[in-house]
Symmetry: C2
Subunit: 321 residues, 2 copies
Amino acid sequence: MKLSKFYYAILFFLISCNQDNDRFAIVIHGGAGTILKKNMSDEMEKEYKIKLEEALNIGHSILRENGKSIDAVEAVIKFLEDSELFNAGKGSVLSNNEEVEMDASIMRGDNLNAGAISGVKQIKNPIKLARKVMEESDHVFLSGLGAEKFALSKGFELISNENLITEKRLKSLKNIKKRDSIIDNKFGTVGCVAVDKNGNITSGTSTGGMTNKKWNRIGDVPIIGAGTYANNETCGISSTGWGEFFIRNVVAYDISAQIEYNKISIKNAAKNTLEKVKKLGGSGGVIGIDKDLNIIMEFNTEGMYRGFKKYNGETEIKIYK
Amino acid sequence: MKLSKFYYAILFFLISCNQDNDRFAIVIHGGAGTILKKNMSDEMEKEYKIKLEEALNIGHSILRENGKSIDAVEAVIKFLEDSELFNAGKGSVLSNNEEVEMDASIMRGDNLNAGAISGVKQIKNPIKLARKVMEESDHVFLSGLGAEKFALSKGFELISNENLITEKRLKSLKNIKKRDSIIDNKFGTVGCVAVDKNGNITSGTSTGGMTNKKWNRIGDVPIIGAGTYANNETCGISSTGWGEFFIRNVVAYDISAQIEYNKISIKNAAKNTLEKVKKLGGSGGVIGIDKDLNIIMEFNTEGMYRGFKKYNGETEIKIYK
């Protein structure tokens, strides 16, 4: 009898361990901004939700099959870049001179390695290039033609910028040019944070930036600490918002720093940071997961394309407030 | 008798107030790295120290005459950029294709406004362009040709890249290419942090980056949060080090965050942050001033060209450990 109790205890211990080791999660965003239900057809809404669900499932399967968070994040962001719905990769917004100019970054929380690129025009999947910079260059951040030369040297195919341009974005650019405005109020970006079964956190973000942007403007997306940050000791964050305000508030790292130094929850940290952004006149959102698998999807805009899925199947996909 | 005591008290109060309002300080660096006394002639050492002193005096006079910290920082960095001794502006190190490619950033602590540029080749004083981006564009960060187009539109003169190249740097590039190394062990950068009589903190940093750099590499200097940060509530910081490690550790903002969230001194915060950089394999230094006028010049390399000067005339100029 005593022995069988002992076996039960061992068995229980093994099951607990196993469950603990099987915990993983993924969270994504597809941009924040003035996204209102009244401006969205049911069909369009459905299309967005289906894409977000597909993206989550891609990441979820990788993580479930013992994949690494870095692979999940890359695969999910590649999928979102390839979708014309989101402002990243194909379907990126257009710069003032009618070109697609993309930024991306990725960071892993186990060794704080990071890779970023800005202003690339001939790369199908910027997130893949950001990862390549992290893994196969001595640098963190490459830009413009230089980043594309690096890509070529690593076997990437350079594609024509035209292949990345969609009719919809061309129309948006023309509308904005008529209004002579640089402010779009929709911060199109895609981002993903994942924690794998080993507890390794990866964050990644990719974007075409702001419609009608000039002068090779760099936003927060490729800035480690602003658009993307990951640290296994604290959390992983991906931002989407008015880049200038996110840079000035060092948004992604500010959330991590509050967890590390202030010992507050990721949710409260994110709320505080977005409050700082708002105080300066900016807006946007963040997604994140902390080391205990708490998930956040915070924003101070009308909406944010977003969703998460956890190891136990718990999932949520939302667009509006 | 009672009345005269009262007058003395008032007088004393006014003097104290006046003294308090008259407090200001400036600190500068001219890069960190393997700077050893045995490799430096007495003459060379003297030359560096004279330049650092002149730079400090330029900033000190502006602040003494009620000037703003933003004007002091700009003037000091312009002076250091114009000197061929330092890796910024004229005398910048050369990229792999024998060009000067410069980065700079500036941030003010009163409103958290910031401006940054990277990869400019035809600008005499990158710090002036960074300030112009901050003050006269809707953006924080412009790069490459785009940044130069913006400069032109604001009346900047574009100069030939050759005018920024010196014999000394051409020789260094050739030596490094022979060794096929990207590691220089000297992190040439110039930086300045100043607090004016109104308590406004400004930080600025400028550099030619790494010798033999390729692929339009961007280092920490133009990254707000890594190379430069300023906030009147905490401190101002300018970094000089192995840029990749400074980006990954969000160095400048990490020091500010520790002051804000951990309530520790700027000195201890800087030591902690540099320890994190070292742990990952990086090295370099930081200068800074907190809101109470405590000055730091911390580094984990053999040397750092550095100096400070305070409102009361207290000053220090040093090179080695």
